[in-house]
């Protein structure tokens, strides 16, 4: 499953909408509860955990991608 599929599944959007620019301000389905679902789904999919700053700071797909890359995940 690709990064876009994981994000799209958690946010319940079409994978085509998972662009770096997409975020909490542009995707209506990216609610606070979906944000939590996104975080736990990423943690499960990549076998890692996020700290508070990473959870709070992940406001766009780019933020999420960079947080994963910082943990050594190539996405």
């Amino acid at each position: 499953m690709t990064f876009a599929d994981v994000v799209a599944g958690a946010l319940d959007v079409d994978p085509a909408h998972v662009t770096d620019e997409a975020g909490q301000d542009t995707l209506a389905s990216w609610t606070s509860m979906r944000h939590i679902q996104l975080i736990v789904t990423l943690e499960e999919a990549y076998g890692l955990s996020f700290d508070y700053e990473e959870i709070a700071g992940a406001r766009t797909v780019r933020d999420v991608r960079e947080a994963l890359r910082a943990k050594g995940v190539e996405v």
Partner: protein, 467 residues
């Protein structure tokens, strides 16, 4: 495990899109954010033929929601009220919360399920905690058993145990500190999934859809499986061995059992030959419970499936313990007893970041206008700090107001959900109104901030709604 949990969450999304008509309303009140439970419980109940509509109460307002006849949960009057307190938030108010929930469930005609709180991980006396009755573990167990005893003789109430879900996950994997700090979600998904399985078992029994007829292909019966079939029979299930691909629903009819109480028990990967999915789906059977390839894991798999669920005989129920002489509290009594202290102070460099964060994250109690920022000419920004008998909450809200034409206009009045239900908004508003001169509140409607407008309207303030 993670894949399984993600698949359940995805299924819950899919079920939501089908527009299936709910047959049971479940209300959830917790002292923490319990929303992660919904997908697991929703799917389990859906698969049991009990499509569900959830009403989730606000964070840590069990007592307030139960005592207030105008609360969101009172309006919902759910068929089932699930109350999930934790010692960490409620402390010695646990009996008050359970009493309030029991009374509310009776008024609303709800079946009450209380989730016994897990024993806290933090122990008052460290490694020496277990040796005295004053220890965290001992006091927690005493409180838990008091709740169990209180509900034991009620036909309209049951308990499930969070400790069991935490233990089966393992304490090291049961908690998510960052998620708790971010959203007051104390447990990992695995714990919520375990808790949901327990709750679903209770609700299946309450609604009479606990699987009672277990169909097994004769060819799959081995010595190892036979041992577990004996356990099923001992638990009260009827086990039927079939020789061909006869639909489960037909065997249920033959046995005089409703199709919804019949389930196929299969071993190993699906072959397609063992199920007549179409007819069974039409007849509404309880589906298939599939055991994995490893016989050593079957005991746990059967337990989690709910096939071993059975009601304990009434005479074995624990007797009601003598109740301490507790008076019934009113909502006002309860809030007053929290000893809430509210401090309003001008924002400074130390509190600016916390104020900005709390304003940005406030969803329910907010004017929905703009972020607070720092004070400027003619503009005052106040940080709201709250403490109560349970501890300090730090910067928990903010107010920003400007002078406009001889009057004060408040365009930021935000509170974190953590301090709602404690009367903090009343204290802050009281202080704003105590100052002389006219005051107005500028308000923009958002999908979530109706309670703010309602609060201000009830207080008789001037509200200027902006688009």
């Amino acid at each position: 495990m993670g894949d399984d949990l993600a698949a359940v969450r995805t299924r819950w999304q899919e079920i939501g899109r089908t527009g299936v008509r709910p047959v049971v309303g479940v209300g959830l009140l917790a002292s923490y954010t319990i929303d992660p439970l919904l997908p697991y419980l929703g799917v389990a109940l859906h698969d049991a033929g009990l499509p569900v509509a959830f009403t989730t109460g606000p964070f840590n307002q069990i007592v307030q929601q139960c005592l207030d006849d105008d609360s969101a949960m009172a309006a919902a009057e759910p068929d089932v009220l699930v109350v999930a307190p934790r010692f960490e938030e409620l402390g010695d108010e646990l009996p008050t919360a359970v009493d309030a929930a029991a009374a509310a469930a009776r008024r609303w005609g709800s079946f009450l399920v209380v989730v016994l709180p897990a024993v806290p991980e933090e122990r008052a006396f460290g490694h020496l905690d277990d040796g005295r009755a004053l220890g965290t573990a001992a006091t927690a167990h005493e409180a838990r058993e008091a709740v169990r005893a209180l509900l034991a003789d009620r036909p309209d109430a049951w308990v499930v145990d969070a400790e069991r879900a935490v233990r089966s996950t393992g304490t090291g994997k049961a908690h998510h500190a960052a998620m708790f700090k971010f959203a007051k979600i104390p447990y990992t998904e695995a714990v919520f999934a375990g808790l949901a399985a327990q709750l679903a078992g209770v609700l299946r029994a309450v609604h009479g859809v606990t699987p009672r007829l277990v169909v097994v292909d004769r060819g799959s019966v081995t010595e190892a499986l036979d041992e577990h079939l004996r356990r099923l029979r001992h638990a009260g299930a009827r086990v039927v061995l079939r020789d061909g691909p006869e639909p489960v629903s037909a065997l249920a009819r033959e046995a005089g059992v409703p199709a919804g109480s019949a389930v196929l028990l299969a071993v190993g990967p699906a072959t397609g030959a063992e199920e007549d999915a179409e007819e069974d789906a039409q007849e509404g059977t309880a589906g298939t419970v599939r055991l994995g390839a490893k016989p050593d894991a079957w005991a746990g798999e059967l337990l989690r499936s709910g096939l071993l669920d059975r009601l304990p005989p009434p005479e074995r129920a624990p007797a009601r313990a003598p109740r301490a002489d507790r008076r019934t509290v009113s909502l006002a009594d309860f809030v007053a007893g929290l000893n809430v202290e509210v401090d309003l102070a001008p924002v400074d460099q130390d509190s600016a970041a916390a104020v900005a964060e709390v304003v940005a994250r406030a969803k329910d109690f907010t004017l929905g206008t703009e972020t607070a920022g720092l004070p400027g000419p003619g503009r005052e920004v106040l940080a709201i700090r709250v403490r109560d008998k349970f501890g300090q909450y730090g910067v928990s809200g903010a107010v920003a107001l400007s002078r406009e034409g001889g009057r004060r206009v408040v365009d930021v009045f935000s509170l974190s959900c953590v301090v709602l239900g404690k009367g903090v908004e009343d204290v802050v508003l009281g202080r704003l109104l105590a100052e002389p001169g006219d005051i107005a509140f500028r308000y923009r409607r958002t999908p979530h901030n109706r309670i703010t407008a309602g609060f201000l309207a009830d207080a008789g303030t001037t509200i200027e709604e902006i688009p």
